[in-house]
């Protein structure tokens, strides 16, 4: 790691190496592809968010008075589809993963750069189909499109959205394939499996789920499409079919999908917690294996979405016990992160604030999962706002917080600029407050009996709903602020050092932003993951020459 070869603001890096739209749209550079994804997922996030704002506005009053019932059903369906398939599943792997996986392992690019670009195009095509369907009139099946409503009764654009999801699934599969092959075959000399950053372990586990689970949703969507077109009768009881078969096929993917959404975020948190406290993660191997365990066990629990569906009670028991088993590795991670803080040197910079938020909110979300896995209790809270609150705590309090924390932490690497620290902390706080105000009341409303997907509800629930909508408006503002300052910083932010934190991880041992080929020479790894010792810090510090070091503590 010769300090002399690292420049703080290199004259040529991956952003300014080529100009022109062709150099971006036909790029093979994983870093540029990550930015293409960044633009798309941000667009879908705000679009999905807009739908959420609309539906929360309707829910201010118990009567259905803002929009019609049909429109409301289309609003929550669009919110779910856009957020799940076009934001939560791709965001961290396709933006942060694509950018960082080669850098963290010391490789020049991913194993299949052209397939990586193809992934993005496939994602965009799928997204366009879905947007077309939404503009053409929308879909009203809910993002879970249960049969027989979706296969035989709905008069909306189910087919177009189905095609969109089918296509986008291949983007996921190809990304997962790329990551697995890259991690196996392209690690730099000396980068053994147990020297890998936990971000890599998480993305490896996520990729396993992507390749094994996504094809199943593909076939499920295909079958619903065939049922709609050809009236085959797979899900139609009058023709000998079974509507509950759909639920099994759907959740066989969609449960592991939620682990696709959370594992990468957990990987980010591992990076944040260790680097922002300058301590190796407590129990590294346990955290690494916990990621794999979550991926494996995650495939065995889908039936916990079917406890009241007329599934056999013995199957219910098996799924319940397995669901409790899968909660343990997540708990292990939370305890290990907390233990990492012990005797650390804890910075209060924005990424760390997001990490703290994640740990707290993910923990609550995870604990409420225990409520849902309890068979007798799930009977009461299934399909109520309790479930809605549970999954938003994990997906928004978990995944989105991790995504934002990661974006802040790696922003200097990605853009060569620092974000404004004061605004960063402020918006983290606004998001935390807004989030809890939005979703905590929903736990209460759910237990009180308010069902999901209702646009008119009993007046007793109004206070809780008003609180929730108020929170949502605060949350929306909280998300807009970073959008603004990230864009602002690209031109006006202070130039970042190569390694501002500093961190011993490989991606920081090259300039910020990196050159197209990532490293001027193939690095040779002789240190352990998260090796924070005096010598390491000193050599990292030498490379952290910059106009302005970020304020610490």
């Amino acid at each position: 790691m010769a300090a002399e070869t690292i420049h703080t603001s290199p004259r040529v890096h991956y952003i300014n190496a080529n100009y022109g739209w062709k150099s971006w749209l036909f790029t093979r550079d994983h870093k540029r592809i990550a930015l293409l994804y960044l633009a798309s997922v941000t667009l879908f996030f705000f679009l999905g968010g807009a739908y959420a704002v609309a539906l929360r506005l309707e829910l201010l009053t118990p009567q259905g008075d803002l929009v019609s019932a049909e429109t409301y059903n289309k609003l929550f369906t669009a919110h779910g589809i856009l957020m799940v398939f076009f934001f939560l599943i791709p965001a961290i792997p396709a933006v942060l993963g694509n950018f960082l996986v080669p850098l963290m392992i010391g490789a020049r690019d991913l194993a299949f750069p052209r397939i990586n670009l193809l992934s993005w195009y496939i994602y965009m095509v799928g997204g366009l189909f879905t947007l077309y369907a939404l503009i053409a009139g929308g879909v009203d099946t809910g993002w879970t499109f249960y049969t027989p409503y979706s296969s035989a009764f709905s008069n909306t654009h189910v087919l177009a959205v189905g095609i969109g999801i089918f296509i986008t699934g291949f983007s996921s599969i190809l990304t997962g394939l790329n990551f697995i092959v890259t991690i196996h075959t392209m690690r730099a000399p000396g980068m053994t499996w147990f020297r890998l950053p936990l971000f890599i372990w998480s993305h490896y586990a996520t990729s396993l789920i992507m390749i094994l689970g996504t094809p199943v949703i593909a076939i499920t969507v295909l079958l619903v499409a065939l049922e709609r077109i050809l009236k085959i009768g797979l899900f139609d009881p009058a023709l000998g079919g079974d509507p509950v078969l759909f639920q099994h096929l759907f959740w066989f993917y969609s449960h592991p999908a939620v682990y696709i959404m959370i594992l990468p975020s957990m990987g980010v948190i591992s990076e944040l917690v260790s680097n922002m406290t300058r301590k190796q993660i407590f129990g590294y191997k346990f955290v690494a294996f916990a990621s794999i365990a979550i991926a494996v066990f995650g495939f065995l629990v889908w039936g916990h979405h079917l406890f009241t569906s007329s599934q056999s009670i013995y199957a219910g028991m098996i799924f319940s016990i397995l669901s409790y088993a899968v909660s343990v590795p997540s708990a292990i991670k939370v305890f290990n992160w907390t233990a990492t803080l012990y005797k650390g040197s804890i910075s209060y910079q924005t990424p760390m604030l997001y990490a703290f938020g994640f740990i707290g909110l993910f923990l609550i979300g995870g604990m409420t999962g225990l409520f849902l896995a309890a068979l007798g209790l799930d009977v009461h809270v299934h399909d109520t706002y309790f479930v809605v609150a549970h999954f938003h705590y994990i997906m928004v309090g978990g995944t989105v917080m991790g995504y934002l924390g990661g974006m802040h932490y790696w922003w200097p690497k990605i853009s060569g600029r620092m974000y404004p620290e004061g605004w960063g902390r402020f918006s983290a706080l606004v998001i935390f407050v807004g989030f809890n105000l939005t979703f905590f009341p929903q736990f209460i409303a759910g237990y009180m009996g308010m069902p999901r997907r209702y646009y008119a509800y009993a007046p007793d629930f109004q206070v809780l709903n008003v609180m929730s909508t108020a929170g949502a408006s605060i949350l929306g503002v909280g998300y807009l602020i970073p959008m603004v300052y990230f864009i602002w910083s690209m031109r006006y932010g202070p130039v970042a050092a190569a390694n501002p934190w500093p961190s011993p991880s490989l991606e920081w041992q090259t300039s910020s932003p990196p050159p197209t080929e990532n490293f001027e020479e193939t690095p040779i790894v002789t240190w352990e993951a998260y090796q924070f010792d005096e010598q390491m810090m000193a050599s990292s510090q030498r490379s952290a020459v910059s106009d302005e070091l970020p304020a610490s503590g």
């Binding site: 394939l177 092959v181 196996h184 392209m186 199943v216």
Partner: protein, 207 residues
């Protein structure tokens, strides 16, 4: 180069695993509905032409053999062998598709395609089995057409490989694309090895 070959091979194996999951959903539907309608499925399966199905099986196995020989040819620099075997593989693949087309045509003529025109009424068809038979046929068409689609893609891939082999691109040092395509071809073959008995031979030991 070695690393690239390794990467390419690993990539293809991973992709094939996703294909297993993709077909898996259909196999699951088959399993479920066959267990619920054993007699109907057997009666419908009996309508399929076992001879043609068996010929197709042999054709595909032969094509896998020629494919393996083609890969061997590329590994050992035997360009002639590589080219000839690729051609043979493609011929066998096309033959498979041709026979499949003939079978499909027969099914349409006998009104066995599970669309609006489905008829299960002639004297030898037990009318009470019409519904499960229809279910069988849609599974038959879904699985075999998905398989055929993969074959067509496979033929396209072979054509590209043949073109590059003709241009002399492959050698003992660089033949990864041939190997990787071989893997894909063998996979498509294996899927058929499962489909044939499950679709064509239900209850055939009873007749």
């Amino acid at each position: 180069m070695e690393q690239q070959r390794e990467a390419g091979t690993l990539g293809m194996w991973v992709f094939l695993i996703t294909e297993i999951m993709f077909f898996g959903g259909l196999f699951m539907a088959y399993t479920l509905y066959r267990s619920m309608n054993a007699e109907g499925f057997a009666a419908a399966s009996h309508q399929l032409d076992v001879k043609l199905g068996a010929i197709n099986t042999v054709v595909l196995i032969a094509s896998s053999f020629t494919m393996a020989m083609a890969v061997y040819g590329s590994q050992t620099g035997k360009r002639q062998l590589l080219l000839v075997c690729l051609i043979l593989t493609m011929i066998f693949g096309a033959a498979f598709l041709g026979i499949k087309a003939v079978e499909y045509n027969t099914k349409f003529e006998h009104h066995l395609f599970p669309g609006a025109g489905f008829k299960w009424e002639s004297p030898e068809h037990d009318p009470r089995l019409a519904q499960p038979a229809r279910m069988f046929f849609w599974i038959y068409f879904a699985m075999t057409s998905l398989h055929a689609l993969h074959m067509i893609i496979g033929l396209g891939v072979m054509a590209v490989i043949f073109y590059y082999a003709w241009r002399g691109r492959y050698s003992p040092e660089y033949h990864a694309p041939v190997e990787v395509s071989g893997l894909y071809w063998h996979f498509v073959d294996i899927v058929w090895i499962f489909l044939f008995p499950l679709l064509y031979l239900i209850g055939s030991h009873l007749h």
